[in-house]
């Protein structure tokens, strides 16, 4: 099924597989993955993506710093970004919203929860959902 190309970023291989498989059950087949923020930057520059789903706590470059880079890079400045993280306190969410993530989901998430967040983001973007 056609839909956006997702870039899934998490230093945990288990988590990446969970997110990617959940996206597939939701009808999103085009997914690439990265193990940290630096790897994600390289993948974006070499392969591109339409939608970024990123963890926060990662080596080399955190999800927060990755988001800052995306928002300051002209070709990706409007890319939808969903933060998926264990960090659930109010100050963390405020910090993430300050760097302009589009939405925020706390681990462990449900498939339905992930779908809702993706749908909410896609509603306000130019990209079509699955």
């Amino acid at each position: 099924m056609a839909g956006p190309k997702f870039l899934v970023v998490d230093d945990s291989l288990t988590m990446r597989r969970i997110v990617i498989n959940t996206l597939k059950t939701l009808g999103y087949e085009t997914v690439v993955e990265a193990g940290d923020g630096k790897d994600a930057m390289a993948k974006l520059l070499s392969e591109g993506a339409d939608f970024l789903i990123t963890d926060w706590n990662m080596p080399e470059m955190s999800g927060l710093d990755l988001t800052k880079w995306v928002r300051s890079t002209e070709q990706f400045v409007n890319m939808p970004i969903l933060m998926v993280t264990t960090r659930g306190n109010k100050d963390d969410v405020i910090e993430a919203m300050k760097v302009r993530v589009n939405n925020y989901i706390v681990k462990p998430f449900t498939a339905q929860g992930l779908k809702e967040k993706i749908d909410q983001i896609l509603k306000t973007s130019d990209i079509k959902s699955a």
Binding site: D11, R17, N57
Partner: protein
């Protein structure tokens, strides 16, 4: 003059007498202090041995934690492999094409049967197709349920990532305690052994972690996040408007 000298000497004798009296009174006190110090030496030695023993156990505990994370990662990978296999097989079953050509062939055969024999055959064939369609619906519903259950299993495996972070936090704590023990040992013994710096560095534990990572209370934490996101989006909308 002699009288003055006598007075001076007497004064000094009195002073000396006073000092000797103070010293005499303080001797028991000094003896108590010395006895205390004598008693403390073996206690400090025992303390040093105990700290060294406890400190030596910490790296062992750290290695055990590493094994735990490694084991849960392996188990999660195996479960994910199986779940992905099930989902792929379900996907294949749901998308396998109906043998339309076979159905058309059967319809042609029925149409070729003489008119007086055709009706019961057509009736039986239609009944059979309805039966197959019902079974297909049941199978499709069953497969969808299995698919949903597989997704639930997969979602629950997020526990591996969360527990890995919790365990890494405990490991960091143990490393801090060990650093404290090392500093203490340096005060207690000049010949305290220098410790290896990488006793708490293991592949599974040397990760970037959230010290507050937890598995429970998901809905409450998501509500907090949703409230902040909603508020921010409202503020952004007001600014644009």
């Amino acid at each position: 003059m002699k009288a003055e000298e006598d007075a001076t000497i007497l004064g000094k004798v009195n002073d000396l007498s006073g000092y000797l009296e103070s010293s005499r009174k303080s001797i028991p006190f000094m003896e108590d202090i010395l006895a205390f110090v004598r008693d403390m030496v073996p206690v400090v030695e025992e303390l040093k041995k105990s700290i060294a023993l406890s400190s030596d156990k910490l790296p062992t505990a750290s290695k055990q934690l590493d094994k735990v994370t490694s084991a849960t990662e392996m188990a999660s990978t195996e479960i994910l492999n199986i779940v992905e296999g099930i989902l792929a097989r379900i996907d294949a079953m749901q998308t396998s094409p109906v043998e339309e050509s076979l159905l058309r062939e059967i319809d042609r055969c029925i149409a070729a049967v003489p008119a007086q024999e055709r009706a019961p055959l057509a009736h039986a064939w239609n009944a059979f197709q309805e039966f197959v369609a019902e079974r297909n619906t049941e199978c499709t519903q069953g497969l969808t349920t299995i698919q949903d259950d597989c997704t639930s299993i997969m979602i629950a495996l997020q526990v591996q990532d969360i527990t890995a972070q919790q365990i890494a936090a405990v490991n960091r704590l143990m490393a801090s305690v060990d650093e404290g023990f090392t500093r203490l040992m340096k005060h207690l013994a000049d010949d305290a052994e220098a410790r290896e710096g990488d006793r708490f560095k293991h592949r599974n534990l040397d990760i970037v972690f959230d010290p507050n990572a937890e598995y429970g209370d998901r809905e409450a934490r998501q509500h907090v996040a949703d409230a902040v996101v909603e508020q921010t989006q409202e503020q952004q909308a007001k600014r644009k408007g």
